[in-house]
Amino acid sequence: MIKFSKQQLKVPKLMRPVYLVTAGQSKFDRAIPDKRTEELCVDALTMAAEMLNLTPAELKQYIHTCYYGHFADHFGDQLLGEAVIHDRLGLDPLGNIGVKTGGATGGSTLWEAVKTVASGYSDCVLAMGWERMDEVPTDEGNFLISCAADKDWESPLGHIYTGYYAVMAQKYWQVFGKAEDSFRRTLAEISVKHHGYARFNPFAQGPMKITVDDVLKSPVVAYPLRALDACLMSVGAACAIICDEATAIKLTKNTKNKPLRIWVSAGSHTLRPADRRDMEIPLLPNETPDQYKNMEKEFPGSARYPGFTGFLGARMAAWYAYRMTGIVDPTKDLDVIELHDAFTISDVQTYEDIGLRPYGHGRDYVESGDCYHTNPKTGKPGKLPSNLSGGLIGCMHAVGATGIMQTFEIATHIWNRWAEMHGDEKLWKKFNRKKPADWTDLQVKGAKRALAISHAGVGSHVTATILMDPDHLLKKDA
């Protein structure tokens, strides 16, 4: 049984307000043979500078320290890749450090950058993430990814990470989905949604106009998960600039970017799902102690928590983040979110972990239409649109960049610059992609608060990044 001490449940507090002032990203694709990684990072930093009407050289003048998120050295076959990028960005001799927490690397990189500004060590920090997953064929790529599981106890079992997720999918489907065909179709709907939104994103690698049946007919990878239930394997880079208040005001003066308050929290859980022990559910502000009393009766087989159906790391990241920022009901308090949809099933699991729906009822977030930009059932705006970028399934999963790409995406909504950053014909042409004739503006109107979840392994590390318009805070002293 995991029990928390009072000290472990301290609500985190930043020592001074921290701001996101700009962000940028490269094109994402399965392979980018005509560019070195540093070229992708320069693309991302140049875009971040241009959003502030600055040249990269001008923006660099403000940067004091650098955090580099790059997960898999063995993919790029380059140790200390951070030093290569730092040098090529011309940022020597500033202090820099590499961050590696699997799929959550991007989120963790932001976590470190935010704490560095909050502590007063730096007034302006670069958080840059990338991944280079095209130097090996896909089956060897799957082998390299499986090395993030326990090398003695899990990886030899098929060398396929999808499999380690699929056992959770099976359990969730049977316990909470009650093995209903309708639940399986809801999972497929998530893939349709994310590939569909990717069609309106010039950065995205996996745009597709598909149906639920297309997903259900796609090849089985690890039953019940099929190829179209899974995220992409990608190449690309993304960056964000994190500042204190004075620098944020200076850098954004006369620009379209309003400085956004940023907080990042983190949680963790066992690398091997096999090591998960029973515990009581840590409750979020919108849950009550007696809420889960009859869960086993409602969903037979759900007695173990988190068992194989929840991500304790995500629950804890939300637990800290909501208390830190004053969020009570995320569906009401937030306007747009990006979740780590490594697989359709983990997207549903996360809805529950972060309190969008109670445990066991995650499917309702999709079935109600709340997760859409425009609710297909009502024709009205979705209550809390998610993954309008296309997410990991439709846009990319260039591991070290993913959490930062998500933050770029949610920030463009609050800056009211989504259409500009996704609809510009020049950008589509630059990436050699065709803008669809039915391109749709997915700007969430009036967005003031947003969340991004970055997630590693089968839940070993999870971060929650929260952005808020400083004039729309929920807690005065946050």
Partner: protein, 196 residues
């Protein structure tokens, strides 16, 4: 003539024999759409690692002898005293005391059921299991964790009773030496090299 790299330990030092890497030449990568201009090179490499099982070595050695070992916290001051762990872990996650090694083969033969499962149609490179691979997660009465392994016979179902089998003939000394079959499976039906 090349020979697979082999290793033993003497005086707590690795003693190696044979080839641990093989040289293969790089080849150019060229652009078929642009006059076959140079884009990059291949970097072939074959290496052998030396990996220590440390305090878990007894677990892997025991599999080859038809035994499933677990660990138990016996620290009287630990709040998790008496907890049994499978996967075998060396230290108690709560008190960090070194745990006692115990043989749980009998318990596994009598009280193991499938907690969840999945059927894997694809694999990554270097996989040596036959596909589809039937991954199962096994829960045991009295054990606080849930082991991941694979089913060698039949089709998995949640709640199904399973029994362990061990690759005692030509063992690999890896986790693949442990597999499971539905309770009631006859010895004659076991995969080659495996015994109860």
């Amino acid at each position: 003539m090349s020979m697979f790299g082999q290793v033993y330990v003497k005086n707590n030092q690795y003693k190696i024999k044979g080839d641990f890497h093989h040289l293969t030449p790089c080849t150019p990568i060229r652009n078929a759409d642009d006059g076959w201009k140079l884009m990059g090179v291949t970097n072939p490499r074959e290496m052998t690692y030396m990996h220590s099982y440390g305090g878990e070595a007894i677990f892997f050695e025991s599999l080859s002898q038809g035994k499933l070992m677990a660990t138990k916290c016996e620290n009287p001051k630990c709040e998790s005293k008496g907890s049994i762990y499978q996967p075998f872990r060396i230290f108690c996650p709560d008190c960090l005391g070194k745990m006692a090694v115990m043989d749980m083969t009998k318990l596994a033969k009598e009280k193991a059921t499938i907690h969840t499962f999945m059927v894997c149609e694809r694999s990554g490179a270097f996989n040596i299991l036959d596909k589809p691979i039937k991954f199962i997660n096994i829960e045991f009465d009295g054990v606080c964790t849930i082991l991941m392994s694979y089913l060698s016979k039949g089709d998995p179902e949640i709640g199904m009773r399973v029994v362990p089998i061990f690759q005692t003939l030509n063992p690999t000394y890896t986790i693949l030496d442990l597999s499971w079959v539905p309770a009631g499976t006859k010895a004659s039906a076991l995969p080659q090299g495996f015994t109860f």
